[in-house]
Symmetry: C2
Amino acid sequence: MAKPKAKLKRKISKLKKKIKGLKAELNASTSIPAVSPLAPPSGFPVLPEISGVTFAAGAAGVKYQGRDDVMLAHIAAGSAVAGVFTRSATRSGPVLDCQTKLAALQKTDTVADAMGIVVNSGNSNAFTGKFGDASVEFVSASAAKVLKTSPENILTSSTGVIGEPLPHDKIIAVLDDLSANLSSANGAAAAGAIMTTDTFAKGATTSVEIDGKTVQIAGFAKGSGMIAPDMATMLVYIFTDAAVTSAALQHMISAENQRTFNAITVDSDTSTSDTLLAFATGAAGNTQIIGADSVDGQVLATALHDVMRELAHLVVKDGEGATKFIEVKVTGAVSDDSAQTVALAIANSPLVKTAAAGEDPNWGRVVMAVGKSGEPADRDKISIHFGDILVAENGWVSPTYTEDAGVAYMKNQDLTISTDLGMGKGTAQVWTCDLTHGYITINADYRS
Amino acid sequence: MAKPKAKLKRKISKLKKKIKGLKAELNASTSIPAVSPLAPPSGFPVLPEISGVTFAAGAAGVKYQGRDDVMLAHIAAGSAVAGVFTRSATRSGPVLDCQTKLAALQKTDTVADAMGIVVNSGNSNAFTGKFGDASVEFVSASAAKVLKTSPENILTSSTGVIGEPLPHDKIIAVLDDLSANLSSANGAAAAGAIMTTDTFAKGATTSVEIDGKTVQIAGFAKGSGMIAPDMATMLVYIFTDAAVTSAALQHMISAENQRTFNAITVDSDTSTSDTLLAFATGAAGNTQIIGADSVDGQVLATALHDVMRELAHLVVKDGEGATKFIEVKVTGAVSDDSAQTVALAIANSPLVKTAAAGEDPNWGRVVMAVGKSGEPADRDKISIHFGDILVAENGWVSPTYTEDAGVAYMKNQDLTISTDLGMGKGTAQVWTCDLTHGYITINADYRS
């Protein structure tokens, strides 16, 4: 029986609708959003200009085309410097070079001559053997020349593919131009040039009063997962005009790093290139801080903490495939270290992270993660909150808990999972994101 | 302009084809195969009957409907027993109960009276507080009655959802029937009853000559990931007719467990209920083995190893979403322990596992995982093989390596990643699977 044309047309319209639905579903299951849904709606912050620090960014074509991939920074003579680095046994040539140079630069309270930073994206110069070490030397020598300082004062970072020779000539070729364009207003451009698989540039800033002077702190970071697909690295650069010795600054940065960048995890994998460098020019004019524990030292440390925590959160929020930002709090552990181990066991658990992705208030997986951490815990003393909702206590689900409340809570974009172990006074707080199809798509479906 | 009907029909046929294609694509991206693609094509093996051991399986409706979910086993008086358990700090009531009972049962060379095993699937009786402990007691008492032995001789396991009260009455209600149907031929049915999200039942067997007698070993296991969605647990039961003391059997099981079940990982998460129990009836008639290091002891240990390794591999091959079986070998470490830590760092790395899923010969991620393990390693001494292909050496990609060879190798279903650290003589071998969209679908999209 022949169908009337109108009927056929309705059928076509119906089929087209179905195709649209299927396409949307397929897209939702495997697509990667251009920008993380957790990116701050306000965009990159306005970074204050830090007196004594200038930046330039440019396109060297290391790997990416049509975008900036090298940043140069100049830090005035008389500044303090501090850094923390990956503890990976296979850390890259640039990291080893930074560690050696930093030890020498920190022998005096501040560095007599100007310092420079060169960062490239697109190639991490990691696992590139002796050739990679030579590349660091070439770049340092050339940057020293254009910045009119010594190669020992040049700190370099590289981020991108592992195991390919760094085309250092391309980087060296743009240094003259970059040095001609150095400006204290170029922080945002510098933050953009160091991105690899980041979906947004990450910046943070604050200011505090120290010794009657206004002290500015500005920083930027890159990182999208502890290590992105073939793209090693979390890189962080922080600048302040505070007057502080290198030793005191190092003390603050090391301590705050534990509570910020060492308290985030995307996939438990560790980059071979993680680098955090901090510089203090002293231009604010406060009396030089020589002790991290002095009143002024504590004020500066707290301000550094704020900037570092904000940057750490932004790295998690750009976690590969992330759709949820998760704060994991642990209290009542036998010590702070024990609490941190438990918190990281929860935050790194694929089953906790997939439960978050599926908006499943699966507190059993939290119990499981506590158990596997190897830290002292007693089944019958654990209590678990999702947000303000008491989920489990006394070794079992709480009598006040309802699955409806749990399910409703898990729909939030920002989640807090709190676990009290009831054993002691140790506390910790770490941050992570969920584990989604997007993570698999980025890391498995992607071919370098 | 009106379209002729034939044209409209062609259009409909085209749209339908498109829908079929989209559905197939969507399916491939998120579907879970009914049976793991890594399941052995030969199916469940024919298990030999072990004299002195009988099984029965039945449907109690603990959670699942229309399938067996309880198994009962009876082990003849005069048998030896051994076990290993999860080290989780939040282990379940049944595990704690087994550990207590086992310590008492092992006080003599063999157990004077009959022993029994009761295992249910559908509910893990984990994180169920004092109520859960009581459930274990009720089940043990009832099983002891039907098996005409003491409750202290009944070992129980539960596997399934965490944090829900075990409906022990349902289990107790079927015990009479089960005891009436005990048979040495029911091993396969027992293996089926203990499955949760397993996509296939897992069995293994071997036989050896000891002291002029043929000794049989048969075992079965369940597990699909270290912990499946809401379904805790890897459970393993091994039976032999060898004559051996409980102490010697325990020594063998503990040692071989390190090289088999403790050498596999699906997602690094640890169950609150992992249990391995081994029983030896002595019916083979060999002179009782009293030392694990004796010649006969070593023969039995090797045979136990073969069965345990086979079962461990089957658990990995049923890993959630698994499409590749990966052997990770580490040599040249400073010690065997160090090698094991490095091997597990590689096997647990989400980036290594997603690279395998994407058939990406991404050796940089292996270098990263070695680096993050925290074990002694030297970038310039590491060499990496994918199968027989030398990929990296002397701190860099091997001059003989071609990306084409690497890509071709990664298309295999069984992969071997070998890393030599060049530091010492420590070796280790662990097994894992890849990390795919299937894992996310099972664990995130699934709602309990």
